[in-house]
């Protein structure tokens, strides 16, 4: 039975993290990997080109060596190895998984914050501090989104948890109570 993407990604990420940690290059590796992910995200055709049959092996190798340019030793090796083993399709998943494990290691959280209006600097800081306290984190990375339909308040997604403090949800809840009684 073939392994699913998540299992594969978990194994590669774990190996990379252990290696980078031993060499004290975690921070640099992490930064390089997120910029690599940006490359994949900015060029949606790249993955399918590497994965598909439209390019010859030689052309693909050329693309890979372009990707490796400027990368540190570990990241370059990772790219090469993932490509050689035919798992380039799982690259983004590996990076996601790496980030997740790295977050757990340094107590960092990624939070998606949905608000009705753009957060200002003060609120942003308050939000970060509140989340850091709640989730016992040292660092909070906010991904802000604006959605006027929630009327007010905020919805925060952290990992598998959702904190919903939006006015819309509260109104719905009140409506449910009034209609059901």
């Amino acid at each position: 039975m073939s392994l699913d993407q998540k299992t594969v990604a978990g194994r590669y990420a774990k190996a990379l993290i252990e290696l980078a940690q031993a060499d004290d290059q975690l921070k640099q590796t992490s930064q390089e990997l997120s910029s690599l992910r940006d490359v994949f995200k900015d060029n949606p055709g790249l993955l399918s080109a590497l994965n598909g049959t439209s390019l010859s092996v030689g052309q693909k190798k050329g693309l890979i060596s372009d990707l490796k340019q400027g990368a540190s030793k570990y990241v370059a090796n990772l790219i090469q190895m993932v490509f050689d083993y035919g798992r380039i399709n799982d690259m983004v998943a590996i990076i996601d998984e790496f980030e997740k494990q790295y977050d757990a290691l340094i107590k960092r959280i990624h939070a998606v914050v949905v608000t009705a209006v753009q957060l200002d600097e003060k609120r942003r800081k308050e939000m970060s501090e509140a989340l850091a306290k709640r989730f016992d984190a040292k660092e909070v990375v906010l991904d802000e989104k604006v959605d006027p339909s929630i009327i007010g308040g905020a919805i925060v997604h952290v990992g598998g948890q959702t904190l919903d403090g939006s006015v819309n949800t509260k109104l719905q809840e009140m409506r449910r109570l009034l209609v059901n009684n």
Partner: protein
């Protein structure tokens, strides 16, 4: 009229008293696969097995497979509205159904939602659909009978309150009819009935409901229906939901009769969703825990001890066989779980022997204790009579020269089989059954022509009701045969007045000739 602002606001305040202004914290996951009534979701790391989950479009699901990277969810409703990438949230609850008196007389789906268009069901109680069966110390042995009103069952395979008796047979052999007749006969017997229809056609369910309504049986019955058009997960949970509804009454000290019609369809539904959940298939492609699926359901039928109120739940599971093959996987499983089976035979059904119960293979392992004394007495030799008749009948086909003893046994056998025939939806009270079988076993029927047996039986019942109701009452209240020869006397008195068809015919012919004589006289 002016609007009373204060009154209104105080009302609203009261209704909102439960509202708390807090941030809702929920665990969510993302749907990665959906199809065929099953969804998989990433995340939801803390989900429990069997937990109720809510999809973003309001459809509920039940967590079935907890794997390292995802959760396999069976969708309890329309899965076509769910898309990959939707969120699923935990509810922290185990699947529950509404229970209570308000459900009586209603037709509901396995989630307890009304299907009969009679409006909302307002119950204040719910029960989890999966519930641990009562353990050894919480039970009591079966001692009170369930009167099915069907002669052959009450005489040969008696069922006790708290027993599990399997009804098994090919398609179209009258399995459902036996179950429905039993429900119909529970009128005024202090019994609450639950009829769980699994994977049946909507029209069939409708017909069954109308039958129950026609005989006034719906007032004490709950019908749970997961029809053939419902997705497999609903068919799978239907019997558990029905059991939960029945249990509520059982734990309140009442007697419950629950019919699962039928468990082969439930097994098929469970096989379907297990295969889609990619559980390894076993024999006949059923999953490994198919036995447990049925055993944990049927174990919930029980007779509770007096400490727990002495209630009971009698289960009548139904299994459909293919071409009479009882050694297939599901039939053998359920036979081994239940306390006996009523086996319906297609051949005798088509030969006109209805209900087509095979007396040789049908047994009740505990019901004998629950039979009333009078019935035990009159039915004692019945099984033997039928067995020896069947044996002789096949021999008798070859030769015509039979000694008188054999002929007598054949005659008795034919009459026994005739007595055991019974019409659809015509359940009989136990005292009537006892008198009929008494007449049979005490040779009152031996010289009645076979064709007249059924008429004899019904006329005897009418005669007894008209002239000897005291004997009926006596049997019913004491459970014993009347002392002395009062019953013998009543039956022989009736037999004096009974005219066979031949006698009637010849009388009619005489009368006709008399009449013609008269008219001739008049003309002259």
């Amino acid at each position: 009229m002016s609007i009373k602002t204060e009154e209104i606001s105080s009302l609203i305040k009261k209704q909102l008293a439960n509202y708390e202004d807090s941030i809702s914290v929920q665990e969510t996951g993302t749907v990665t696969y959906v199809g065929d009534g099953v969804a998989r979701a990433d995340g939801l790391e803390n989900a429990m097995a069997g937990e109720l989950l809510e999809f973003s479009n309001g459809v509920y699901g039940m967590a079935q497979n907890l794997e390292s990277n995802n959760v396999g969810i069976v969708v309890l409703g329309d899965f076509t509205g769910i898309r990959e990438g939707d969120t699923v949230k935990r509810t922290g609850r185990i699947m529950e159904v509404p229970v209570g008196d308000q459900l009586l007389g209603r037709v509901v789906d396995p989630l307890g939602r009304p299907l009969d268009g009679l409006g909302e069901i307002k119950t204040d109680k719910t029960r989890p659909i999966e519930h641990k069966a009562p353990d050894v110390m919480e039970r009591k042995s079966v001692s009170v009978p369930v009167q099915t009103g069907i002669k052959v069952i009450d005489a040969l395979v008696p069922i006790g309150r708290g027993q599990r008796e399997l009804i098994i047979g090919d398609r179209k052999t009258g399995k459902t009819s036996i179950a429905l007749d039993t429900i119909i006969n529970q009128k005024n017997q202090n019994m609450i009935c639950v009829y769980v229809a699994i994977g049946q056609k909507e029209s069939t369910v409708k017909a069954s409901v109308e039958t129950l309504r026609k005989y006034g049986a719906l007032d004490y019955t709950i019908v749970v229906s997961a029809s053939a058009s419902n997705p497999a997960p609903l068919l799978y949970i239907a019997p558990y939901a029905g059991a939960a509804m029945g249990e509520e009454f059982m734990y309140n000290g009442k007697d419950v009769l629950i019919v699962y019609d039928d468990l082969s369809k439930q097994a098929d539904a469970y096989r379907e969703l297990s295969l889609i959940l990619r559980r390894p298939p076993g024999r006949e492609a059923y999953p490994g825990d198919i036995f447990y699926t049925h055993s944990r359901l049927l174990e919930r039928a029980a007779r509770l001890s007096d400490d727990l109120g002495g209630g009971s739940m009698t289960a009548l599971p139904i299994i459909q066989t293919q071409a009479g093959d009882v050694s297939a996987y599901i039939p053998t499983n359920v036979i081994s779980i239940t306390d006996g089976q009523i086996f319906l035979d297609a051949d005798s059904f088509y030969a006109g022997q209805r209900p087509a119960i095979d007396a040789g293979t049908s047994v009740s392992r505990v019901g004998g204790d629950a039979q009333i004394k009078a019935m035990k007495k009159v039915a004692g030799t019945l099984r033997l009579d039928i067995a020896s008749y069947n044996e002789l009948a096949s021999f008798a086909q070859f030769g015509s020269d039979l000694d008188s003893e054999t002929q007598a046994r054949l005659a008795r056998g034919q009459r026994t089989m005739e007595v055991l025939k019974q019409g659809l939806h015509e359940p009989q009270p136990v005292e009537q059954q006892v008198v009929t079988l008494y007449a049979l076993s005490h040779s009152y029927l031996d010289n009645v022509p076979v064709d007249d047996i059924q008429r004899f039986e019904s006329e005897l019942a009418n005669y007894m009701r008209a002239n000897h109701q005291d004997l009926y009452d006596q049997i019913k209240s004491t459970g014993k045969l009347p002392e002395g020869d009062s019953l013998d006397k009543a039956i022989s008195d009736f037999k004096e007045t009974f005219k066979t068809s031949d006698q009637k015919k010849s009388e009619k012919a005489d009368e006709a000739s008399d009449n013609s004589d008269d008219s001739e006289d008049a003309n002259n």
